[in-house]
Each structure stands twice: as structure tokens, then as C-alpha cells.
Symmetry: C2
Subunit: 357 residues, 2 copies
């Protein structure tokens, strides 16, 4: 029977007791690592790294060789689905993701295919299969996708945006078209994530990076409802004695701190929260797992400050089960490596006092 050497992350996501709080970092495989920058320089560009399973696997494992992290996350991008739909994802230095083609009207939406994950997204599945093998049961492997709303923002705006005026224009003046797109995306994401689970992903994150730009009413109908549609289709398995028989799902809406009750009621296993949220105010602690929430900029400061901020996060969450320590957003690229090491050690060391089993 497959067993994990370190199952703290999966146990925490099921709100089961652990001996200390598990920690991983968003973008833990990334540019702050010199070995990542070396590989990137050789590979040429970001998408080549994503689309070459050997490279994606190597990058995924890089941070785990350096640090005592409690989970691996497959090296990929949140925008693989619209790319597989034919929009042509590319990256320009310092400008964030862009699409060669953007979605402008209903007929554009009708023409979008639902990607077959073992065809146009096979490189992700192969990377997961390879990485799972290489991990050899040390820590669990996280699979992920962008949320339907977040994917739609990039597809309609054509890339990153400040005010999201194009998609909001559609939202308010042609909501039916947007709903059609979101439904198509939700179905595509569900198929994609199920394929990731099939390939070996042991936990799923849905990144709703831009849900926080919506109004409180629109968040429910244009973002959360479509994450629920995904949840209803996921083959998560069943909870049992064997912790790995169930694939927990974490929803992370950046800037969604006002709507935590609604997010919890979606039926997810865990919510991600950013640093604007006081963890002592999170509802239903101990019944739903919480991931977060250190401001990534804390890692610029010296060890004493990192120590104090780790203490603050752990103390806010308190003695409940169900905490996964993380940054509230991706790690910045100019963070000193010794600060990362210090953070991870501090979380493990300090959190022991909150766990007695």
C-alpha cells in the first residue's frame, strides 16, 4: 500500500491532528532559487520549462532538496487551460502573462474547445506522473488550476489588468455570454483536475487570483458558483484510515477575506487566505482547514522579525487542527535563501506548542 513518509500536509487539510504545522510556499519553485535561474537560462523560456516534463519535474523538486518543505506543487502555470484552448499563452519579461488571441464576443466563446488533458495538456500529466515517481512517497504532490473567473479575466483582457474593464463590461452588459464562458471553463477545469488526480496529484488548489476585484454579489455568481461547479465534479475519493485515499481541495480567493463564510460553504476542504485576514477571525476553525497567511515581504526582514511574524500567525490560529502555513501570495524573487530556511524551521519549531497528540 502506498504510504507517505510525511503526511502532515494532507492530515492538516483533513483537520486531523499533526505533531507540527506543515508549511509550503506559493511559487516555492521559482526565481528566488539560483538553480531555478540556471535551468531557466538553459531552457530559454518559462513555457518551455512547463511543457517539458523532465524540466518541470526537476524544477518542482528543487526547493525540496534545499528546504524541509511539507509538500511539493507541480511546476506549471494557472493559465494552461486557455492556452490549450488555442489562445496562445506567452510571457514578456516583467509584464506577466499574455494571450496572442483574446475573447471578445459570444462567437469566440462558442468556438473554444474543451481540452482533452491527455492530449493538449499531456505535458502536465506527464510532469505529474514523473514527479510523483521521483518524490517516492516523501511528501504529497499538489496539482492546481486557475479558477474559471481568473482564467476568464486573462482571456478577455488579453493579459494582466489593473481595472478589468473589458471583462466587467461583459459582466454587466452581456452576463449571459460571460456565464457561458465560465461554465465552459469550469467543465474544462474539472476534467483537467480529475486528470491531474488520476496522474497522481494528492491535493488540489484552485487559485482565484482575481476574485477579489468583484463586487460582493458578483463574486458569488461569477466566481464562487463556478468553483462549486468544479467541486461537484471532482473525483476526490473517500476519507479513510489511509490518508492518501482522499484528495482535499483548497480554494484561494486572493482579496476574498470578506467572503470566507460563503467560500467555506462551497464544500471545499480548505480555504486559502492572504495577510489582510486576521486568522483569529476565520469562521469554523477546526472544521475547515485554513492555509496562510504570512505577507511574503516579511521574508525581506531579518530572522528576529521573521520569528515574531511566524509567532503572530500561529498564535492567531491557536490550538485548532487544520492549519497549513503558507505565504499569502507567491514568494518574491529577491528573497535571501537563508531567510526561507529560517522561516520553515521557525514554523516547525514554534508550532509544536500548539499540537499535543
Amino acid at each position: 500500500m502506498y504510504q507517505l513518509k510525511n503526511d502532515r500536509y494532507l492530515r492538516a487539510l483533513q483537520c486531523l491532528p499533526v505533531d507540527y504545522t506543515p508549511v509550503w510556499m506559493m511559487r516555492q519553485a521559482g526565481r528566488y532559487l539560483p538553480e531555478y535561474r540556471d535551468l531557466r537560462a538553459k531552457a530559454g523560456d518559462f513555457m518551455t520549462m512547463c511543457q517539458t516534463p523532465d524540466l518541470a519535474c526537476e524544477v518542482t523538486l528543487q526547493p525540496l532538496k534545499r528546504f524541509d518543505l511539507d509538500a511539493a506543487i507541480i511546476f506549471s502555470d494557472i493559465l494552461t487551460i486557455p492556452d490549450a484552448m488555442g489562445l496562445g499563452l506567452y510571457f514578456e519579461t516583467g509584464e506577466g502573462p499574455k494571450f496572442k488571441q483574446s475573447i471578445q464576443c459570444l462567437s469566440d466563446i462558442h468556438q473554444l474547445p474543451i481540452p482533452d488533458p491527455e492530449q493538449s495538456l499531456r505535458y502536465v500529466m506527464d510532469a505529474i506522473r514523473l514527479t510523483k515517481k521521483e518524490l517516492d512517497g516523501t511528501v504529497p504532490l499538489i496539482g492546481f488550476s486557475g479558477s474559471p473567473w481568473t482564467l476568464a479575466t486573462y482571456m478577455i483582457e488579453g493579459g494582466s489588468s489593473k481595472a478589468f474593464t473589458k471583462i466587467k463590461k461583459m459582466l454587466y452588459s452581456d452576463p449571459k455570454a460571460l456565464h457561458l464562458l465560465l461554465e465552459k471553463l469550469a467543465n474544462s477545469v474539472a476534467i483537467y483536475l480529475n486528470a491531474q488526480i488520476e496522474a497522481g496529484a494528492q491535493s488540489i488548489m484552485i487559485f482565484d487570483t482575481w476574485g477579489g476585484v468583484l463586487s460582493h454579489q458578483s463574486y458569488q455568481t461569477f466566481s464562487l458558483d463556478y468553483m462549486k461547479l468544479i467541486l461537484s465534479q471532482l473525483k476526490q475519493g473517500k476519507k479513510s484510515q489511509n490518508i492518501t485515499s482522499y484528495v482535499p481541495v483548497t480554494l484561494f480567493t486572493k482579496g476574498g477575506g470578506l467572503w470566507l463564510e460563503n467560500i467555506i460553504n462551497s464544500g471545499c476542504d480548505a480555504i486559502g487566505v492572504d495577510w489582510t485576514v486576521d486568522l483569529s477571525n476565520v469562521p469554523q476553525k477546526g472544521q475547515i482547514a485554513v492555509q496562510g497567511n504570512l505577507d511574503p515581504s516579511v521574508l525581506y526582514a531579518d530572522k528576529q522579525i521573521i520569528e515574531a511574524n511566524v509567532d503572530a500567525v500561529l498564535s492567531e490560529f491557536g490550538y485548532h487542527n487544520g492549519h497549513v502555513f503558507n505565504l499569502g501570495h507567491g514568494i518574491h524573487q529577491d528573497i535571501p535563501l537563508e531567510h526561507v530556511q529560517y522561516l520553515i524551521d521557525a514554523v516547525h519549531r514554534q508550532s509544536k506548542r500548539f499540537h499535543h497528540d
Copy 2:
């Protein structure tokens, strides 16, 4: 005795009864108006318009000639203070504000002067005096500034930012330097706003555009506390039968919806809220005024949708006193003028049912 023909805005800010809900729009004097674009083309650039009192006055009055707005806001920029401190504010098309010099260390901060509003910011005072005269008691005139935290972000980052890594690096690794800067800015803003009041401003807005990027602990100590320091120094006058004897202050932290209790406890008269906030959840309604909170993108949609969204905002706030209708952020530049007209009429017409006096 000076009396206003339309004092609904000032009455609402004091939570006094009104016959209908007053409305104004952030950036109501701006690029969506063809007459603004004409004047801008003649003037050459944005800063020339700000710094020429005749032009600033003309631009301030432009939207009031078209629409039945319940307040005027002086045409200026939130970043006039760092510009007067010598940092050299300028605007590049499509890129937002920038500074020729940025703040990098403690000695930069020590060297910053506290501007004398009647010297280096005299153009703002002259614009207020002229506009107040031209308004001739029709509607109240709003003065404003950026919050210390928001000013500091631009001064340290050198312009707009996505992740605010420079200022956050200072916040976590050299907090004393940042506190010194924020204190200097708070004192400068207090002097500046008192001069605006002296020149004729009848209400004050403090725009904390970037307070929402802070952690919940840091928001209190690095943004709100310095807005409180300003509040403690403002010469607001006394509340009396004559509604204009008191100058109410509105604090608007964009993305600050999680911290409304704290903001209310600062001693301000009103809080601004964006569209992420459900007005039915705002604490202490009727005791503190609330400004907001329509998503500006609603104005892209047709009249029926605008009507429904106005109804939603008014219904959430309900039958309390103390509501100023506004957008949750500045109006977009490509909004049709007839939609603006429709919005203002809809607020006035629909809100009558919530007011009985």
C-alpha cells in the same frame, strides 16, 4: 450668513435627515467628459491643469454644469504633497504617476521639508478660493489629500506598484525609518488640509488608495494610526444649526472592508467603502456616515442594469441616515455620458422612498 442651496451632502455626512440621497463621483472631473479632454489638449498636461487655478476651477465645475451632482471636489492630485517636498511628480501616458526622485533611506527622509501650503501648494489654495467663489453656494466643495501610507508608497516605489516590495522591505526591516516618514507626511497633510479648510473646503476626503495591500496588523500601525494623527490636528469647526460650520472628514481605504470597525473608531465622520463591501454589513449605520459603493463598471451597462444596481446599493443601506452615494473608485474614462446622467437621476429618484422627513 453663508448658506448652501444644496446641503444634502454635508447633512448626510453628519447623519442628519435628507429628502434624498446625495451623490457625487470620484474623478467626476475627468477624461470621460469631452470638455475635459478639450481643455487638457489645450493645457498640454495634467499637472499644468492642476497648477493653474483658472483651469483647475474650470475643470472642477465642468461636471456640475452637466449633471445634478450634490458636491464638487477640487480638481487636483493626491500626490501634491510629495511633489511640493521636491520629488518631482510627473505623468506618463497610460503609466500613472511617477516621481523623478524616490525615497531610499533615512537621510532622504530627514531632508524632506514640510511644505508651506501658501507657498509651494498655493496653486491648490488659489484654486479652492476661486472655485468656492464660482460655486456661489450651490453645492459644497470637497478638499482632499492622499493618506500618509499612500503617499509613502509612491515616494518609495517611485510611482505605481504591483507588489509594493520596496516600501514593504522598509516596513519589515527598517520600520523606524518608515514611521519617521509617515509622521512627517501626517503632519504635512494636516497642515495642508487645514489650509484647504481655511481656503474654503467644506468637507475633507483622505484617500488611502493603497491601505488595502497591508496586513491586518500593519494597516493599523502604518496607515490608520497616521490618519488618526491627521484627524487629531484638523480644524473641523463645531457642529451647529448652521450645517456649514463643521467640516466632516471621510476616510476611504480602498480594499479596507475587513477593517471597518477600526476605521470607524478613528474618529472620522464618514467611511468610504468599495464594491466588495455589502452595505448591509457596515457597522454602526446611522451613527457614522458611509460613502459608496457602486462598481464603476456598472456604468458600462444599459439603463435597466444601472437602475437595478442603484436599487441594490440603496436597499442594502436601507432606511438609515448618513449615506452618500458614490462609485467605489474613480469613473472610467470611456463611460457614456447618458449613463452618468441616468445614474444620478436614478439615485435621486429611487432614494426618496428611504427618506421621510
